[in-house]
Amino acid sequence: MAIKTESFILNIGPQHPSTHGVFRLRLILDGEVITDLEPVFGYLHRGIEKLAEGRTYLQDIPFTDRLDYLGSMTNNHAYVMAVEKLAGITVPERAEYIRVILDELQRIASHLAGLGFFLNDLGALQTPLLYMFREREKIVELFDMCSGQRLNYNYYRFGGFVQDLPEEFLPALKKLLDTLPGFIDEYEQLISTNEIVLIRTKGVGVLKRELAINSSAAGPVLRASGVNWDIRRNDPYSIYDRFEFDIPTAQNGDTYDRYMVRIREMRQSVRILRQAVKDLPEGEIMGKAPKLLKPPAGEVYSRIEGPKGELGFYLVSDGTDKPYRWRVRPPCLLNLSALKDMVVGWKVADLMAIFGSIDIVMGEVDR
């Protein structure tokens, strides 16, 4: 049965409760059904890449914080690693362990916030969001202890860290690690088997395996489509090859799978954290690095597995103290490549669920 109808354009955004920032979607709607969609980017385009070219390598670290502002620690790590690779700086053992600890904490914090927003988009009146912010707050407090900031930490330096962990950090972390799995169980109990969550997410917004790879999706979005690809395992960086952990994947690539992959990833992060805390050696926190860094001319592409996916930095040096070209590979932007294929045919309410499950941060999409 075919119904002859006429469609209309609906603007979602740039300021809308569930676009996760200033993102805009031009929907062509047929009643409630989305027949076409055009994303409009750039409402948070701050020209970070241009600004970074005008400053020294060290001064560029704060810019990385403000890319994916829910994953500042991992952004720091990716950038610092790229410059270390470019300039040939070695990092002490203790610093590597601390980097892993902070990265995994940041992954949990980012997933908590992302899942909270996702459930908010499903229409759950903020309750799950506030529950997840409760745990995120504990992690943020740990970061606050070591860096003195709550959101944009600026804690990594080339060769190590700006300062050693404070004394109270490890006891607090151990306490958190004891309670965190219980909280994740609580979320699973409340959400994963909720009938309404299931019917709203199962089978909705399927991203097929082939399209996921072809559209350069990364991170949980890619893994939920059945691709076993994680930089921590496939191209190990830092000291990730020393830890035992699984890469959670799912087969259907629907909204529910993306949610479940994130929940399982948090459990794996707890597992890595436990091992890292156990093995954490004493020693230097800072390797040998000059105050004013002048890497030799050349280029480098270095990547890590951030909370949203593969976060890469492509740097070109011309031998001066400022980068010649400074480029971020933004997982959030590329995860949106296949948005149209996931959304067309679904309803406006589903768009919010699908969009929330991709978990983007506009700071990184627009840069």
Binding site: H16, P17, D30, G123, T127, L130, I196
Partner: protein
């Protein structure tokens, strides 16, 4: 002045006072209660325990600038809040607060309430259409689809109660409840509460003002006093639905020891608390799922309820009440489980050319 006019005036004042005061109280209660659900204290600065919070909101909304968009249909835009609000107030005319304590004891009380309550949807649609905003229009479209469909299970679920009492008068229905009808009509109560929550657009059926999807739905363009009226209407509707549920299923003002009015308010509060509880915990359904739930699940169940009730009245009029209650509850759970296996929510992806 005759007694009739004195009665009318006194009750009008009492009713208005009751509705306004309890709506303000409800708003406070909801925000405090939801605050507790969300691990926080909720409003507690304005007055003791934040009790004056709704009053502050009310005064502020009253003195806020009232914007009428240039492109809107001004007459309809102006009229819509009234058309939505007045029927809700009219519903309270036939609700007994104690034995005979009501504005008018209509002998078709429940029919009158159903008839009046369905006018609200016209006001909401007027608001959505006249705003000349796409978000409002989407909200209005959802309203029409949802409220018209849920009217049917709502009415059918009440019919069971009417069959048991043999009267349409609200006062008679309360008097007939030596045992609260929630026990004799558990299935009817379930269907009524589900359908009523869809009627008054509370979570999980709050599609027409789905904040994460269509901003504020039909009242996106409303500000100031007119928005205040919609806000008032929403809570007055909840109050009305709670009061009707109390009257029809929970034995109304009946209860031992305490004053009937206190019993009535307590029961209303229990239903209201339940609605808040659902709101704080459950995500929203999608429009096609809402429709499927109404037509494929609630409608057959309410029809089955009618048949069962009729059968019980005809075949076993003298059965022991305790046994009857047991059978009814068992039948309810059986039917709900059976039906939730049978029906499919359907919908899903539409292929687009």
């Amino acid at each position: 002045m005759s007694d009739f006019w004195v009665h009318l005036l006194v009750y009008l004042v009492i009713l208005f006072g009751f509705v306004i005061v309890s709506v303000l109280l409800f708003i406070w209660l909801e925000r405090r209660f939801i605050g507790r659900f969300q691990l926080r204290p909720g409003p507690n600065r304005a007055g003791p325990f934040g009790l004056l919070q709704p009053i502050a909101d009310a005064i502020k909304v009253l003195i806020k600038e009232d914007i009428i968009p240039t492109e809107s249909d001004k007459g309809v835009f102006w009229l819509a809040p009234l058309v939505a609000f007045v029927p809700v107030m009219l519903m309270f005319a036939a609700i007994p607060f104690a034995d005979g304590a009501m504005l008018v004891d209509l002998n078709i009380g429940i029919l009158y309430i159903l008839a009046v309550s369905s006018v609200t949807v016209i006001g909401i649609f007027m608001a959505g259409w006249s705003s000349n905003s796409k978000y409002s229009l989407l909200g209005a479209m959802r309203t029409i689809a949802q409220e018209v469909s849920y009217e049917i299970p709502l009415v059918l679920s009440i019919l069971g109660v009417v069959m048991l009492t043999g009267s349409l008068s609200m006062n008679e229905i309360v008097k007939a409840q030596s045992v609260p009808f929630v026990l004799l009509q558990p299935l009817g109560f379930f269907v009524y509460l589900s359908a009523a929550m869809a009627e008054i657009n509370r979570t999980p059926f709050d599609l027409l003002e789905a904040e994460s999807e269509i901003i504020a739905g039909f009242h996106t363009e409303y500000s100031g006093m007119k928005f205040g009226l919609f806000y008032l209407m929403e809570y007055a509707e909840v109050l009305a639905i709670s009061a009707i549920a109390t009257t029809l299923f929970l034995g109304g003002w009946q209860g031992p020891l305490l004053h009937p009015v206190i019993w009535f308010i307590t029961k209303v509060l229990i239903i209201f608390m339940f609605i808040i509880w659902v709101r704080a915990t459950i995500p929203r359904l999608r429009i096609d799922q809402v429709m499927a739930f109404g037509w494929k699940f609630l409608l057959p169940l309410s029809l089955a309820n009618l048949v069962i009730t009729a059968f019980e009245i005809l075949a076993a009029p003298d059965m022991n009440t305790a046994v009857l209650i047991g059978i009814n509850i068992a039948v309810m759970f059986g039917l709900i489980l059976l039906f939730s296996r049978f029906y499919k929510l359907g919908g899903g992806r539409v292929s687009v050319k």
